[in-house]
Amino acid sequence: MTLAESVLRGNRLALARLLTLIENNTQEGRIAVNELFPRTGRAHLVGVTGAPGTGKSSLVNQLVRCIRNPQNGKNCIGEEKQKVAVVAVDPSSPFTGGAILGDRVRMQDLSGDPGVFIRSMASRGSLGGLASTTSGLVQAFDAAGFDLIMIETVGAGQAEVDIAKLAHTTLVIEAPGLGDDIQAIKAGILEIADVLVINKSDRPGVEVTERALRSMLQLAHPVPRIFHHHGAVELVNVESSASSTEEMWIPPIHKTNAIEGVGIEELVEEIRSHKQFLLDTGGWRQRDSARLQSELDIMLQESLVSRWRSRVPENEYLRVLDEVVTREISPWQAVDLLLGGGAA
C-alpha cells in the first residue's frame, strides 16, 4: 500500500509521516501529493492571524472545541460534526534555524479527540507568516478528509498577509490596547480580514479598539480582492453579476474572550456564513483558483531558479558576485551577465 493510500484509509501515523515528508520537500512527499491532489478542494480553509499575544491559539482551541462539541453528534451551532485539522505556524530562528513551537500549550482541550489533528510547523525562513510548505500540508489534510482546516500564522505584524491567499476565510485577531485609529487605516493585515475579532474583550479599552476598527470599515470602499504578486496583478476579481455591492462581504467585528469562552458560538456561526457567502457568490472558486495560481507561480519560480543554478558553474557565479561586491558592475548588470546577456 502506498503512503497516500494509507492516508486515505485514515491511518494517522501515515498522515503524520506524510506531513513531515512534505515539510522537508522530499521526492517521496511530492509523489504522495501528486496522488492525493485530485481529492483536495473540499475543505474549508480558515486562516487565523494577528499580532503575537492576541490569543490566536487560545481562540483556535475554543473554536475547535465548539465545532467538535460532542452533544448528540452535533456541534455547538447545531451542525453535523466535522473533522478538524489545525496547522499552527511559529517562527524559526533566523540564526540557528531552530524553533520553539508552543501553540499546543493552548490547545490541550483538544487532546484525545480522534476527529482533531494538530500539527505545529516552523516558518523555516519564510516571511509572510506561513512556511513555504504550509499549503502542501493543507492539501494533505484536505485529501485525508478533514472538513475544516484552521491555519494559525506566526504572530503577525503589519505585512504578513500570505494567509489571505491560502485561506477561504481569514480571521484577523486584535486585542485592546494595541493601536489607534491610524494603525487601523494602514494597509496590510487589517485589509485581509473577512472577520475581525477583538479578543480579550474583558480588558479595558475594548470600546476604543472597536470604534477604531468600525471607523476603519466605514472609511473603506469595498473593493474586490486583487492580489499583487511580485508586482504583477494576480487575479482580477471580476464582478460576476451586476449589483456588486449586494455581493460585497463587509467584514463583521466580533468580540471574544477565549479564556472564558465568550462569543465563540457567534464566531463559529460567522465563519459558517462566510463559507456560505463564498459558495453563493462564486467566491469559493475564485479564491481556489487564485490560490492555486499563486502556488503554481511560486513552484515555477523555484524550479526555474534551481534548474538554472544547476547549469551555471559555481565559480562563474562567484566571479560575477565578486564583481558586484567590488562595485565593478551593478546587481542588474550581474543578472544580465548571468542570464546570458538577454534583457530580463
Binding site: A16, T20, L101, G102, R104, Q108, S111
Partner: protein, 133 residues
C-alpha cells in the same frame, strides 16, 4: 531543498509544576537548530503520545520532578510503541534516583539526566540517537 530538521517533543507529564528545566532544555535544543514542540505542564501519557504522533517527532523529552517517573515513563513508552512509534527516542530529565535508572533504560529510555547536566550533552545525545535510525 531543505535539510531534514530534528523535531523533539518536550513535555512535562504528571502534576509537578516546575517547568524551568524543561524550558531551559527546550531553549537549548532550539539554539542547536532543532524544532521543539513544547506542550507545557500537566500532560497525561496519552496526551504526550498523541502529540508525538501528530507531530511525527524524532525524540520525546520528558521532565519529571514529582517522583512519579516509574508510573509515567513506562506508560509513555508503551503508548509510543502501540502507535507504531517505537523508533522515537525517549529522554528523561529531572529528579530520578540512581536505583531506578537501570530499569528505566531497560524499558527503552535512551538517556536520563539529573541536575547539573550540561545542555551540550543533551544536544549531542539527541543528535546521535536520531542519526542512528
Amino acid at each position: 531543498m531543505t535539510e531534514r530538521k530534528i523535531r523533539v517533543l518536550v513535555a512535562k507529564p504528571g502534576l509537578d509544576g516546575h517547568d524551568r528545566g524543561a524550558k531551559v532544555v527546550a531553549r537549548a535544543l532550539r539554539d542547536a537548530g532543532m524544532e521543539v514542540i513544547y506542550t507545557g505542564l500537566r500532560q497525561t501519557p496519552e496526551m504526550i503520545s498523541e502529540s508525538a504522533l501528530q507531530e511525527d517527532v524524532d525524540a520525546v523529552g520528558l521532565s519529571i520532578l514529582s517522583g512519579a517517573h516509574m508510573a509515567l515513563v513506562p506508560r509513555v513508552v508503551e503508548l509510543l510503541k502501540a502507535n507504531g512509534q517505537e523508533d522515537v527516542s525517549v529522554f528523561l530529565g529531572g529528579i530520578i534516583p540512581d536505583e531506578d535508572v537501570p530499569r528505566l533504560k531497560e524499558m527503552g529510555v535512551a538517556s536520563i539526566y539529573g541536575p547539573g547536566t550540561s545542555t551540550e550533552k543533551i544536544v549531542e545525545d539527541i543528535r546521535r540517537e536520531v542519526r542512528k535510525e
